[in-house]
């Protein structure tokens, strides 16, 4: 669901095909019948933006029919935990959870806590919220701290235990409601539920695969949370063949969150410090969990500071902790773009990204770029983000004039992955090293080269500075060896630093060796071990014929070369495999050790019946039958008492722009979603608001196999461009008849942001759906195109507004509303006139939305 895996991950999809050859059943739930649907056993068409209703319906089916994996649920999840008396569910408050502050549009999460936990998890506490950071900034990616021991009811009968709350929460997500909300016929939905339940349990497992079809919504994080609930109820986490697989959009998106390009994280999911975290001690007080493996956050952080600042980082200066920047709120990509538009952000580096095409509301993106002092774009070709100042829709309409734009644009040609050494980390957390195959042409250079030499030159220029603010740069350990005529830094030297070394300079072999006393260096604790024994473990390529099926010597997976996280859950509480068919990691009673096909994700010698002492800390506080060792309470969270900005349980909310109301609650959309109402970002009226009928269709975006994301790697290549030569829209024969569209001809797609044109592909693969007694047409748009390259076309993302998920600030471009009309769009100022006319008809005032 939420993924078109065959088209967007064709190489990874070979394993789905192999599983299918061995008898696996493949079900594809997607608004469109895609190349994935073509080879699936079943395709279930669904309305874009309604997946929580569908998944919540599955939760309800499992609980109503007693299909949960009972022992797994009782022992490995927080089903038995009692929730605080003050908690109120969406069932009680008609679509809101307790703690909602309507003025600031944030939740106070204190009522979502476990009963008996004296001190609520600090990151979620009220003082922090009062600083306006009620979102996900506080967390790394894993659990939240917890103090005290929650009360439980192992019988799962207590009305305030998570299991009963869950039951009540999803009781109304019946097959009939699923049909109403998603447009999936009742019988079709029940077939999916049965197939999933029949293929889960002690003997069998099922997996979910998702991509940005799930994430790019105002409730994106909660989509995935709903899948987590299903998989925990069915016992499909930590077991072979189970899991929830996030399929990434680029080769190393996983790597760029592990060693992040994100504003709120340090390497290894350590949270970025906040202004009030004055010292390491403050930082740890707020972030480190007393129990679970986050109990060693001090060792991870101090080893990281030693990697950054080397000898300059000492116990006396708090290991240069003060050099770290502080994050004071949401500084995600969209907030930064708005700050550029408003003139507070003056400079911008763009690498491996093409926001002028790939981000929502392209016009706003380009207007922001035009307001910068300087812009550095590093890419293989001169992409739209680099050319906006002379070649963009706004130049064409006259909204921008080249002569008026002050932005100094530096275009730096980049080396491709075949032209440099480095690693890719895939969705399985598997690092695979790639060696340079050819030299980059001309002036093309790697990112590593660029960043290293930029740092070197800046440090040279600042060498005599006595300004305190330059200390973080001047104190850096910046001594990577370089090779060849171009002085290319040695990528393996970086990997070695990521891995880390001990006081004697010997490579660490695992993160348990990191120390909080400054004697170890480690650039990313979860990657520690990738350079164990001084060897690049990510470069291992033992042929699969020489390895067992888990293939531990192909590349290297974090952490500790584990191929599956939480694999303690593959054994029953007593340490024996749940079944022969799903045997993976188990307790060897004779040797008194965990053993199996994979590296056990557990302390190797901790027996299944281990009970922690009341005052135990870190991993010692995790019981011998608690598999979720990164969670403070060692269990999987059906109910999330902390960590989320928009509710401890997922609830179905309509997309921000939707032609339908919410039949479940009077709260229509996610109350905590981030909106930016401003003249450049008008919103189409939604169902029930005047003017909603001006934009009657649902529009969704996607990729096709032949092109790569925003096009920088495909539209400039003849062999790829000829395979999908033009921007197109996919519409049903019914919609084509309704709007006079002809296959192969042109259509114009309009929102209140802009209008774009596309060639028409009339296809039954985009089927109309019956929703709440109305017939809905959906329009499909690939988002690869822009003005540059061999194959050019309008950018689909120009149609979409800035409206974001409150947890991770991702844009909602998988479901919005639009109108469609035959023919090409107007040129020049006539385009803006058309959009204005639409806004007028929709009742959007021109003063606000000029």
């Amino acid at each position: 669901m939420g993924s078109n895996m065959a088209e967007c991950h064709p190489v990874g999809f070979q394993w789905v095909m192999e599983a299918k050859l061995r008898g696996a059943q493949v079900i594809h739930v997607d608004p469109r019948f895609t190349r994935t649907s073509a080879v699936a056993d079943r395709h279930v068409p669904i309305r874009a933006g309604s997946d929580i209703a569908f998944l919540g319906g599955i939760v309800n089916y499992i609980l109503e029919h007693g299909r949960e994996f009972r022992e797994y649920v009782e022992r490995y999840t927080n089903a038995a935990h009692l929730i605080d008396e003050s908690f109120r569910d969406t069932e009680d408050l008609d679509g809101l959870f307790s703690g909602w502050d309507p003025e600031r549009r944030v939740y106070d999460r204190s009522s979502w806590q476990y009963e008996g936990v004296s001190e609520i998890s600090a990151p979620m506490g009220a003082p922090r919220q009062s600083k306006g950071i009620a979102t996900g900034e506080r967390h790394g990616s894993h659990g939240a701290p917890l103090a005290g021991h929650p009360d439980t009811d192992p019988s799962l009968e207590h009305p305030r235990c998570v299991f009963q709350i869950l039951k009540r929460h999803y009781r109304r997500y019946t097959p009939e409601v699923v049909e109403q909300v998603c447009g999936v016929p009742r019988d079709e939905f029940l077939r999916v539920c049965e197939a999933l339940c029949d293929n889960s349990g002690p003997e069998r497992t099922s997996a979910f695969c998702y991509s940005v079809g799930w994430t790019q919504h105002t409730v994106g994080v909660q989509y995935i949370r709903t899948a987590c609930i299903i998989q925990l109820l069915l016992g499909n986490i930590g077991r072979p063949g189970g899991g929830i697989l996030a399929l990434r959009g680029h080769a190393s998106i996983q790597g760029s969150t592990d060693i992040p390009t994100l504003y709120n994280l340090l390497p290894g999911y350590l949270p970025m410090p906040q202004p009030e975290d004055q010292t390491i001690s403050d930082y740890l007080d707020y972030n480190a969990a007393p129990t679970g493996f986050w109990g060693h956050m001090d060792a991870y952080l101090i080893s990281l500071l030693k990697a950054y600042w080397g000898d300059a980082a000492t116990a006396d200066n708090d290991y240069c902790y003060g050099h770290l920047p502080r994050v004071s709120g949401d500084h995600s990509t969209y907030q930064s773009i708005l700050a550029m538009r408003d003139g507070t952000v003056k400079g911008f580096f763009v690498m491996g990204e093409n926001p002028a095409v790939g981000s929502a509301n392209g016009k706003l993106q380009r207007l922001a770029l035009a307001n910068l002092d300087w812009l550095v774009v590093r890419d293989l070709y001169e992409i739209e983000t680099a050319s906006f100042w002379y070649d963009s829709p706004e130049i064409d309409t006259g909204e921008l004039h080249t002569g008026d734009i002050g932005t100094e644009v530096f275009f730096m040609p980049a080396a491709a992955h075949t032209e440099k050494d480095g690693s890719f980390t895939n969705t399985q957390r598997l690092l695979q090293w790639h060696h340079k195959a050819v030299e980059p042409p001309d002036d093309c250079r790697s990112e590593l080269w660029f960043m290293y030499h930029l740092g070197r030159l800046i440090r040279q220029k600042l060498a005599r500075s006595t300004d305190e603010r330059d200390r973080p740069l001047l104190d850096l350990r910046w001594d990577y060896p370089t090779n060849g005529d171009t002085s290319e830094p040695d990528a393996e030297a970086v990997l070695r630093e990521v891995n880390g070394w001990d006081a004697a300079g010997a490579p660490l072999s695992g993160y348990t060796q990191t120390k909080p006393d400054g004697s170890t260096v480690c650039g990313c604790w979860i990657y520690c071990g990738v350079y164990a024994d001084g060897l690049n473990q990510a470069a291992r390529r033992s042929p699969r014929v020489d390895l067992d099926w888990v293939a531990p010597e192909w590349g290297w997976a974090w952490p500790a070369n584990r191929r599956m996280l939480y694999n303690r859950a593959s054994a029953a509480p007593d340490g024996t495999p749940w079944s022969e068919a799903t045997r993976y990691v188990w307790w060897d009673a004779d040797r008194k050790r965990w053993t199996g096909h994979d590296v056990p994700d557990f302390e190797a010698g901790k027996p299944p019946d281990y009970e922690p002492a009341p005052d135990a800390e870190a991993e010692a506080a995790i019981r011998g039958d608690d598999p979720f060792i990164m969670q403070a309470d060692g269990v999987g969270w059906l109910f999330a008492p902390a960590g989320l900005a928009d509710g401890p349980l997922p609830a179905h909310y309509e997309p921000h722009e939707s032609p339908f109301g919410n039949p479940l609650y009077s709260q229509r959309s996610n109350p905590a979603r981030q909106m930016f109402p401003r003249p450049e970002d008008p919103y189409n009226p939604a169902d029930g608001q005047p003017g909603a009928d001006v934009f009657p269709y649902v529009v969704t975006t996607y990729r096709v196999t032949e092109h790569h994301t925003a096009g920088g790697m495909s539209r400039f290549l003849p062999y790829l461009s000829e395979l999908q030569p033009e921007m197109f829209c996919e519409v049903s024969p019914e919609l084509a008849a309704e709007r006079n569209l002809t296959n192969g001809d042109w259509a114009t797609i309009v929102s209140s942001r802009t209008a774009i044109e596309a060639r028409v592909l009339v296809t039954e693969r985009v089927a109309p759906l019956e929703i709440q007694g109305r017939r809905l047409q959906q329009v499909g748009l690939p988002y690869h195109w822009g003005t540059r390259g061999l194959s050019t076309g309008d950018a689909a993302n120009d149609l979409f507004p800035l409206v974001l998920d409150p947890n991770v600030h991702i844009q909602e471009v998988k479901a919005a509303t639009c109108d469609v009309r035959p023919g090409r769009r107007p040129r020049g100022p006539a385009l803006t006139a058309l959009v204005h006319e639409y806004r007028k008809r929709a009742g959007l005032s021109e003063e606000e939305h000029a």
Binding site: A6, P10, T705, E706, Y719, P725, L761, L790
Partner: protein
């Protein structure tokens, strides 16, 4: 002492094709086949159209309404199939080539030698599949060589190597044929009654293909001739008929000439 390698070929199993077109790109990259233009064809996701001088692999996309296996409800089916030169056992292109540019390789494949081809074009109407064609601005005939250079180096053809789902399988033809028969049996067993092999029969009109297919519908659906015949098959007969016709004509003329005198 050298031994002749076994005849090799392609088994294209369209039931596992995901239409990624990696075969098209890998073929063009390896063989340096020119790009042939940006043409939006309104034919589902197919913007390549047909095999030709500049397209040696072509993935067809066919959208259909069919009865679903099992409940029989009408559902959608999207067929994808990567077409290629068939490397016929009896190859008419090779028969008609006057320069010997087309030859049967030691691997049993049919290959054009660009440096020998004189561009006469006889091979083009000779092919029952419309595979081979002349390149504009060049005049010479081009088609799939089954990566003759790679085979000589001990590698598999580029398309087969690039195919992520093993829809394109390369190997000794005998082995491929038995693998393909087993695959058809499996699919029939699973209720995919439409599965059939195309070009695996040595008794067909071209003596069997060196590159054969597993299809899920009639060959015509994919734009393939249902009963291809080597166009040069009838040449010997044609000559016999021509001789007989000449004799008859002579007789008739004689009758006309002499009969008139009666």
């Amino acid at each position: 002492m050298t031994t002749t390698p076994p005849r090799v070929g392609f088994f294209t199993d369209t039931s596992v094709c995901i239409g990624c077109k990696a075969c098209e790109v890998a073929c063009k990259e390896w063989n340096d086949v020119p790009a042939d233009g940006l043409n939006f064809l309104t034919s589902s996701y197919d913007h390549t159209g047909t095999l030709g001088a500049d397209t040696w692999r072509h993935v067809a996309f066919i959208e259909q309404r069919v009865a679903a296996p099992g409940d029989g409800a009408e559902g959608l089916r999207w067929l994808m199939s990567s077409d290629v030169c068939k490397h016929c056992t009896h190859a008419a292109c090779l028969d008609v080539c006057p320069t010997g540019a087309l030859f049967r390789s030691e691997f049993g494949t049919v290959v054009v030698q660009a440096d020998v081809c004189n561009g006469c074009g006889y091979c083009i109407p000779a092919c029952p599949f419309g595979v081979i064609d002349r390149r504009e601005h060049d005049g010479r005939a081009w088609k799939c060589t089954m990566c003759y250079d790679r085979l000589r180096g001990g590698f598999e053809p580029a398309c087969a190597q690039a195919c992520p789902t093993q829809s394109i399988q390369f190997g000794p033809l005998d082995e491929l044929r038995s693998r393909a028969s087993a695959r058809v049996r499996t699919l029939h067993h699973r209720g995919v009654d439409d599965a059939r092999l195309y070009g695996a029969d040595e008794d067909d009109g071209v003596g069997g293909f060196g590159a054969f297919f597993l299809l899920l519908d009639e060959p015509e659906t994919y734009g393939l001739p249902p009963d291809p015949v080597v166009t040069t098959r009838d040449l010997p007969h044609l000559w016999r008929w021509a001789a007989a016709a000449a004799a008859t004509l002579t007789g008739a003329v004689a009758v006309a000439m002499f009969g008139g005198r009666r």
